[in-house]
Symmetry: C2
Subunit: 121 residues, 2 copies
């Protein structure tokens, strides 16, 4: 039921880990399943130069975060804030309807990390 | 919020994979989050000699399956059928309430694999 791209990003996720000296850290929880996503960003001159994530969430959360971090890396903050979970799911050739709630974690965690970055400045 | 044992089994799960010539295979889905768990067993003289699992599920599903497979390996089928998700959670020093639904997958998948084994005989 999962697309080849979802399975690829699930089996070999990109950008997993922590950034010790992150400029922003966002943590969000999923009210539906209780899973947590943490996103770390490094920012240089308004550009997201590095991004990593950690999650206890399911395969769909891992695949969407892997894709979402790929999509915002190297982008400016205003560009990154435009990323929607719908765009991430499209980039992955879709997700089963029951897993859409998992894809929301990545979008929200990026926004939370950016908010944290602005708060720290 | 997760116990040290949960984190240990999540980071380094036991018995992950497939058994190509399994004697029983059980697949169950979680109506709450849409995750799927597949369990493979090898049976010799009513004893579960090997067991492996595959899941797209979250960290709690992985940790409970890792522990559950450890607990049924080497046991007789009647003993394995007595395993409850409550006992698995206790062996893991507990799970947050919102993640209890994830622990049900492992118990159900073992029972489904045993049913499949009986069906094949
Ligand atoms: S079920 Fe929780 S993130 Fe997918």
């Amino acid at each position: 039921a999962y697309s080849a791209k979802v399975m690829e990003h699930f089996s070999n996720p990109h950008n997993v880990g922590e950034i010790k000296d992150a400029d922003g850290v966002g943590e969000v929880g999923n009210p539906k399943c209780g899973d947590i996503m943490r996103m770390y960003i490094k920012v240089d001159n308004d550009v997201i130069t590095d991004v990593k994530f950690m999650t206890f969430g399911c395969g769909a959360a891992i695949a969407t975060s892997s894709m979402a971090t790929d999509l915002v890396k190297g982008k400016t903050i205003p560009e990154a804030l435009k990323l929607t979970n719908k765009a991430v799911m499209e980039a992955l050739d879709g997700l089963p309807a029951i897993k859409v709630h998992c894809s929301v974690l990545a979008e929200q965690a990026i926004k939370a990390a950016v908010s944290d970055y602005y708060r720290r400045r």
